[in-house]
Every structure is written in C-alpha cells, then in structure tokens.
Amino acid sequence: MAETLTRTGALDGWAARFAELPDSVALLAEPFHTMTSVRGETTLRPNTWVEEDGFDAVWLGPDEVLRTSPFRSAAELGGTDVSAQRTTIRLRGAHARDLLETGCAIDLHPRVFGAGSAAVTLLGQANVILLCLGENDYRILVRSSFAAYLAEWLLDAATEYRG
C-alpha cells in the first residue's frame, strides 16, 4: 500500500485561516483529543470540569461524564470511545468572551462562568460543549460534522476584531 492509515482531523486545512486572526481572538484546532463517555453516578459538580489523573473530566449529566485527554488512549480512560464524535477548538484572547457572546446565550461573565465551568449549549447554531479554562480562554468541543460550520462561524464572528 502506498500510504498507511493516517489520521485526519475535522479541521485539517483551517490552520492558515485561523492564523490570520489577531491575538485577541486566537483560534487553534486541537485535533485528536481522546474522549470517552463514562456512565454512572459522578461526584463532579454540575456544569463543571476538573483535571483528574491524566485526563479532564467534564460533567455532562447526573450519570454522564466526558473524559478527555490529548495523550491517553480510550482504553486508558475507560468508557465508550467517542474521540472522533467531536473535535476541539481553543479560543483565547482579549475578545474571546466578546466573540462567544455574539452567539452563545448563557451568561459567560467570569463570576458566573469562570475557569472550571462547563456547559452544553449552542454556539451559533452548533451544539457545543464549552469549557472555560481561564479568563478569556475557552475550549470548544463540537460535533465533527459541525466543525467546518463552526469554524466558518467563528471566523465570521471575529470580523469586528480584525485590524
């Protein structure tokens, strides 16, 4: 065979357009994060995520936790492998929250949605899992089939902040 089975990220090919954005609304595709859905009761607080031993755990429901890791395998994380179900986009910069507020109905004020917050919500018309990593620093998990739409939406939303 000419090629081995290589991986393709849902946002491969977008890096050049992301790179044109100013630092105030920086976008970065983070492909190939392992994700698993772990079912059963959880001690996580609703609408939060925490760093655990080698992975992040995101509360998705009273009996549903999403584990994510950029380097561990699905077998190591346990649960149902849903790694390719979603892809990850990092959004940060001075206008990151401003940009999200053009298309996300939930209250993103740091007092309400600070570091460690998580929400399943709509961004534009795409269902996303939104994680706050810190002030104006977010991770967006989006269904792979919606990734191109969301990337286009984010680039368009950034229009106001381009120089």
């Binding site: 492998d81 849903v82 790694s83 179900q85 109905a105 792979s144």
Partner: protein
Amino acid sequence: MTRVDGYGRVDRTRTLRFTFDGVSYTGHPGDTLASALLAHGVRTIARSVKQDRPRGVTAVWSEDPTGLVQVEEPFPEPMLLATTIELVDGLVASSIGGRGRLAEVPDTARYDRRYAHCETLVVGAGPAGLLAARTAARRGDRVVLVDDRPAAGGSLTGTERICGRDALDFVADTLAELRAHPDVRILLRTTAFGHYDDGFVLALERRTDHLAPAPQGLSRQRVWRIRAGHVVVATGAHERPIVVADNDRPGIMLAASARDLLHRYGVLAGRRVVVFTSDDAAYDAAADLAGAGAEVTLLDPRPVRGDSRSGDYRRSRGLVLGTGAGPDGAISHVFTDQGELPCDLLLLSGGWNPTSHLFSHVRGALRYDAELGAFRPGEALAGVTVVGAANGTFDLAGCLAEGRGETPEPLPRTNLVLWRTDGDPARQYVDLQRDSTVADIARATGAGLRSVEHVKRYTTIGTAHDQGKTSGVLASAITAELLGVPIESLGTTTFRPPYTPIAFAALAGRERGQLFDPVRTTALHAWHVARGAVFEDVGQWKRARYYPLPGEAGGTEDMDTAVLRECAAVRRDVGILDGSTLGKIEVRGPDAGAFLDMIYTNLMSSLRPGRVRYGVMCGLDGMVIDDGTVLRLDDEGFLVYTTTGGAAPILDHMEEWLQTEWPHLRVTLTSVTEQWATFPVVGPRSRDVVGALAPHVDVSAAAFPFMTWQDTEVDGVPVRLARISFSGELAWEVSVDGWHAPALWRRLIALGEPYGITPYGTETMHVLRAEKGYPIIGQDTDGTVSPQDLGMSWAVSTKKVDFIGKRSFARAENRNPLRKQLVGLLPLDPTVKLPEGSQIIEQTAELPPPPVPMLGHVTSSYRSAALGRTFALALVKGGHARIGERLTVPVGGDLVPVEVTGSVLVDPEGTRRDG
C-alpha cells in the same frame, strides 16, 4: 434659515451636505434629517397614503406619525422617520406618499447579535433612568443602560437644574460615573423593542449609520438579547395632541417636540406660533419659543392660573377648532372660538401618555388615571419597575426620586383632559399616518363595533409604523365618547413588540448565506468534493448524491446517466458508498436487550453477539418512525443504526422512554454517530475488496455469513466489518473511527481498483434499495404507515408481551384491508418515469369528472439499470390485494397506465446476497 444662535447642541463648526427631493441642503453633526430640513424651512416632507395630503414633522422622535421618507443613499431603505435619521454627509432622501420602495440591490451591510446578562437593565437614560442605573451600579449590580437616542438625558432640554447644577452637566457626570464601573454597559442609539418573560429584552443598536463612511468590520445594526434579573422601565412619556379639524397640516406639531427642536438642534420651527394646550407642560414650550424670538399666542381652555410659567407670550382662555392652509398646504392660520389667528406653527398638547409598552409586553396591566387622562402601569410585576414619566410621574423631582428608588409625593394635577374640540369629524385626524379620522371611528361604532381592538382593525388606527404612539389613547377616548361609556371600560389596544419597526435583516443577523443553516459534512467531504460529487441536502447534511464523469461532449454526465452507470457497476462489479451519516447509538447495560425489545417491534434480546438484525420502530400509534440494523456487541452492548434523519430524534425518543417510563432499566444510551464512519462496499466483487483489506479475515460465505459482523485491524487500526445489504447484493459495511475514515476510504478505493470499484451516491443507493422494495422511512412512509402496510409483518413480534406500538396493531383500522400498502408499480411504457408524488386512480381511459377517488400516490420512482426500465414504489389502498391489477396515474395531461406488482423487483429469491 430657522436656526437660532445660542440654542442647540449640534456642531455648527462643521457642515454636512445632503439632498432631499433632489435639492441640496446643509446641516450639522447632531442634526437629524428632520431638524436639518426644518432648519431650512422645509415643512412638507411627505404625502399621506390615502388622501395625498401634505404632511410634515408632527413629533420629534420615533412617535412621529407623519414624517416618513425614503432613503436612497448610503443604502436604499423605505419608510424611515426623518426625525430618527441622523444626518451624515452625502445622505440622499426623498419624500414618499405613504409607501416606500424596497431596495433593488442586495444589502451588503453586516448585521449581528449579541447576548448580555445583567442584574439590572435600565431602559431609558433620562433623569429617572440615569439615577436608577447609578443606584444599581453603586450596589454592585451588572447594569445595562439602553437609550434609543444618540445622547443620554431624555427630555432634559438643558434649561433645568439638578442638584444645583446644569442638568446636562449632571447627565454627563452620571454617565462618566457609570462608565467607570467595569460591569456597566451603556448602549445609546439602542431601542429596547420587546420585553418577554423572565427579564428577557430585545434591543436594536444602530452602530454605524451615524458614521460616514461606516467603519469596516462593524455590524450596521445589532440585536441585543438581554437577560436581566430586574428591568427598570424609564421610557418617559409621549405627548398627546388635542384633535381639532385639519390637524394634519405641515406646521402642526406637539408642543414638547417644538421645544426639543429648539434646545437640541437650535431650530425654531415657527415664527408666529399658536400653542393650544390643556396642560401646564406646554407653557414651557411657549415661554422658550418666545424667548428664542417667536411671537407666541397660547390658548388654554382652563381658567387663568397664577403659577404657570411666565414668559414673553400672550395667553388667553380659548379653544382651537380648526386650521387653514396657505398655498403650500402648510398651516397659515387657526380658527379659534374667538376668531382667526394667523400662524406658521401650531403646537398641540393635551397631556402625556406614559410610554408603558415594555411594561405591557409582559402583560403588565394598565389602569386609567382619570386626572391624567392617560393609562399608566397598574399593579406591579415581579422583576419590573416603572419609574419617572413612564410611571405617570411627570415632574423632574419626582422622576429623580423614583430613579433613586424612592416614592415621591404626587403633585396635584392641574391639567384638563380634553380629547378634541368641536368640528367636522371627517376632518379631525386621529391617526395621521393612516388618514383615519373621528368619522372613521364613528363609522366603526356605527357598524356595531364595541371593542377598541375591533375599532383598531376596522379603522386601521394604530397599525402604522408608529403603532399609535400618539393616536392610540385618543382612539380609545373618542370611541368611548361615541359609545357613551367611560374610557376605562374600553382600555387600550394591546402593545406588542416591536416597539419600533425592526428590519428583517437585523433579525436575521449573520444567519444568512453560508451561515444560514449549518452544513454538516462527513469525514470524507473533501474527497467527495475532489471527486466532483453532486451533493444533496439530507437534513443539515451534505451527502454525495452521485459522481458524474466527464461526458462525451466535454460536459459531465447528467444525473440519470450517472446513476444508471453507478447502479450497473454495483450490481456487476463493486461500489462504495459513504454511509457515515447513519445514526449510531450504543445501547449498553444489563437490561439493554429488554429495553430494545420494547423499542423495536421485533425481538432483539435474542440476538447473539456477533450477529446483526434488522428492526422496525413504531410510535405509540403503531406507525413506523424508523428502521435500521442492530449489532449485538457483547452481552450488555448493542449498536443501533438509525436512519440519517433519525439519529437525534430516535436518541431523544429512547431517552424519553428510558427516563420517564422505564427508569428501572439499567441501560445507558450514547450517540456514536460521528465516532464511526461507515462505508457499504457492495456488489459481487465486494468479497475480493474486503478480503484484500482484511487478509486475516475469512470472508467466505460460510465463515462470514450474512447478518454477522467481525472486528479486525488494518495497519493496527480497529475496523469493523458487517455483512449487511441495503441492495440485495453481497455487501459489507466497513466501519472505522472518524479520524481514520479518509485514509481507510482511500485504501478501499485503491484495493477496489482492480475490480472496477465505483463510488456511488445516495441516488444510486435509493434506486438499489427500491429495486429490492426496501422502504426509506420518511420517503415511502409519512407517519401513517404501519409495518404491516409495508409488508413487514414478519418484523412484528407476535410473542412479545409488549412493545411500543403493539396496542395499536389491534385497532380495527390497523386491520382494515383497504389501508394504503406499499407496492411496486411498473408503467406499461417502460420509458415513462412517474413523478414522485403522483396520484393513483382506478384504471381509466378518460379522467372522470371530479372528485376523482384517489387510491394512493407514488413514493419513489426511478430508472433501473437492472430491469432496463422504469419502476416505482407506491402506497395504494388495498395494494397488496391489487398485485397484478392495472391502475392509472395522471401525469400532467396524460393518463399513464401502470401495473401493480410486489415491491421486490430485483432478485426476489435473494440469490445475490451471498455472492
């Protein structure tokens, strides 16, 4: 020029040029189109819609019923109020006769949306609103303060004093304090136009129209979606005219509007002014206009009072009864109860109506205040506070107190409630924009209408751009007068959003063009594009419909040619389809089998690991809602395939039953639709291709039977092979995680090359499945079709105690042999392709007169490469019993004879399945 030195806040050091009705004028930053025209003495700026009467500016802001114009430049827009158009250099506008004209060029401006959350939203930056915002900000609230005008201060003219200071200095200082709070957002040029439950307010911000040229990147207008813990309505009040005969002429306006023109824009709207008022506020206008050099006569029906504001104007007790016009149609004199008075400006003031729209939008009840002659907010609403003039508190001290959250002592009322004077009702205009008069209201009540809502619709009063801001209460009052009932028994018409007209473009925001609706793509989308696929929309998905090859004449194949080629290739050699959009749900837990037994009509718990079963799901009504295959993964795990469209609704359906009816079942549901890409590899040579892909797997019919699956690895990547066929051919569905999907697909294409592998699209898939009579849920079914109707009684368990839909199968109607049933149709002329949706009637040579009994309709129709002819699937009344009969399908003017057949047209014996 009517511009007066020493007045106004426009920047007279700079000059702007604009054109109105082809004539060039100048104005200044801070002007509106209306103020700039009035500064040039242009009083007539529109013609009325029905009666073609000249009209001018009647009020100075969004309540103006008359001054609608067409803007041509910078962007063509119809029916904007001249009073709300901020003047910019190069503005081109023209008068209209009540109807504007939509732009014929696309609107390339940007519109967007923004969400905001706050503890306190204050609507209105007048004195009451400013203090309410300051109070909330000092408390530590997140505050949003919106005001629809370009500057804060509300109705303050600059002549007032607040806390010992010039009122406008107080406004500036308060704004500065608010701006210093990090969590206070001040939005000027922003109209709160709708108020909904739970503190949700929509507001439109006009961001660039006042800037010429508009800056790049900024949206022209923005819809703010504000969620507030508390909404403070500080929206002021609208002055109310007194209705007199011929009260619609240019040169007749509200008293406070003339005063605002003077103080805000430095425009003296008339030199010989008559003020007709039954309220004290208009005395300020009389005094100020007189102070600016006008000759002012004030007529008041009330006895002379000693404490009215004095000034250099003449006052007498009297009534204005009508007006007269000069040659230009504008006012030239008034008729009073004491004779004629020449004038070029008549100011009318019958009191004030609190602007309580935002209180009413959330069903706040208004109550009639007989002293005020106005409706004001009644019983308080949770989460809403109305302060200042919007609350019927019209004095400055009272407004400031309410803004601070205090309850001021009400001042004694001195006004007289006067709706109209004596005169010809047919000349007494109530709604000037609609040319509706007192006579029109009399006609409505004469026709027996009693409700103001009915009178509104009969007369159209209050239905124009201004939604009756100045005419609504008058219409209620005059209706009450004509009916001889108290106005409070009638109330007002309902205030509904939007408060001012909002452009559809603003509501659409960025959801236009490619962002109108999300486009969902599979992991292989780039490959499909590169291969020249023609796509079809399946829900939000873009699916490859067919892959046209270059045609003989240099073009590309049409769909019919391409699909016939793809169909033939699949049944002759091997084809490959991107089936990744199929919904996939992992059902897991000790009770997973029991759960699926309830969800499907057939038995699933008996399926053994490694096996696959086809299943049908019904709703409670026993009608088919979805179908697909189920893989048993292990003792506690199943993988359910749904249709593409069913992926989300079927997951919801399952969750609903699980969570609400069967919470005792130990089952979890996980969507893995996009985790797995699935490629059917279909056709007689598929065994060669799959065998080459997975050399360690024995793909013989004996070792890998139909409806079984096996896991393997390709280059160390887990790959699942399942012998499932949606075409009747030997076939494998090859599944891999989405990351490896493009590479595995390319591998299969390369391995298949020696066997002539042909990528095929959804159209070919549809033809191949229809040839086998496999229905597409949602195409061959419409929510009224049971499994039995589809000929699938074999998929309905008779042994299971219960499952969703079972009860309905026992209904008499479900057993009716005349139900519509799925059959095949073969047009007698094998070249005729029936349009899908065609109606089916009894065999006839001539169309009988209507009503023609309909037997059913064509659900799927194709050309078949395998059959060498056209064929169709159809739902036909009693169809199963009609097999062999001939029926007629009217198509356009033709009557197409067809033969009813069974639904399986290709390989009914199933000999091709195992290769």
